[in-house]
Symmetry: C2
Subunit: 246 residues, 2 copies
Amino acid sequence: MTAARFASAAMVVIGNELLSGQTREGNSHVVAEALFARGCRLIEVAIVPDDHATIVDTLTRLRAKADAVITSGGIGPTHDDITMEAVAAALGVPLLTHEATLALMRNHYGEDQLNEGRRRMARLPRGATPVVCPKSIAPGAAIDGVFVLAGVPAIFRSQLERILPRFGGAAIYRHAIEFHGFESRFFRQLEQIQHDFPTVEIGSYPKLCEGNPWGKIVLTSRDQQALKQASQAVEEMLRALASPTR
Amino acid sequence: MTAARFASAAMVVIGNELLSGQTREGNSHVVAEALFARGCRLIEVAIVPDDHATIVDTLTRLRAKADAVITSGGIGPTHDDITMEAVAAALGVPLLTHEATLALMRNHYGEDQLNEGRRRMARLPRGATPVVCPKSIAPGAAIDGVFVLAGVPAIFRSQLERILPRFGGAAIYRHAIEFHGFESRFFRQLEQIQHDFPTVEIGSYPKLCEGNPWGKIVLTSRDQQALKQASQAVEEMLRALASPTR
């Protein structure tokens, strides 16, 4: 892959079924894990309904904030599958039959089975490259930093694998340190450590409610040395809190 | 509850840990199910980082689109807990110690254990009502249609229970019909049924990839009679497709 890689991305998850609680959304977590592992920052995830104007507005807003935008859902043949149209509209290009894709479908299904519904799935925004995966003949689409993938998890993951090489940045390192007790015991010292190590992102995540408090302090950085030093400072802080002299 | 209920809502889920794939987000699905059951439309979910400007911008954007906004995460005592400040900024009010909440904490912890970290959690945007639940002494906040809840799932759910009576609309009915085979076989007829029943939202959700296709057609409406008629039309469509004459 000679093209420059995308160092930041946003995601648009499309589907009324997710906002009505009928389906639990899981593709965004797959993206979050995969992009982090490649050193690409995921800056926002938006879950939106099957509404043309909302999809267009969300794509436009997030394209201005991130190097790339990945969408999930709404690329099937039915009337509620409107993502390809919305992406084309957001990019100001027409939605056209992609002849090479149509030829693949004709070869796969045979002319007699190549019905109108399948022909619909051969339409891509003008200038898009199809995202083809082993799980589906109907492709996703890649165009101008927008990657249009399926919503069905198995197909989404398979298509995502194909585009991941386009994403990445300097390696991001992460170290998690467990703590017991309340965050309120150390929040001020932790704030000081965050201040002392500005290149390290320090988060504190309580895991249970007040009944039996514990949690994790997670340190994240592209600077491995700073991460190590900050982690040592956090460990010393927690040791001091646990020591009998306190 | 005499106040009018919120018929639409949006959600802002706050936390770097979600965008880095370290934690799988689940609170939005709890909200989606709970609001649907009450007849309240969830119009968008935004997952955003622990960034003041992003939280303020997202709150402002979504308050303009929905009757109410529910936030999740970032209300603990540590430096990365910035949601209350961001909500106060978005609403143009100061963040002040809520004396009644401080008194509850003093009573719960005792003066000697009421450290600065806990005092921080007694700060609410001016004019906010605390959202108190059995799982946490530290409250959420309700102000001007913004509901600021914890990120820890057990506390989030407990706080959500307390505010749910504020949300609701006319009952929404849903009916799911399983289909086997490819959507491409019926997408045109289904589009016609959608056209014939404009008050019914019809979605088609393939469940597996092309290898062994099946799925569900889900019909949703506040009009129970139209839902019933549209469902019958879908069932007849699927029967006709399955019949040997086809």
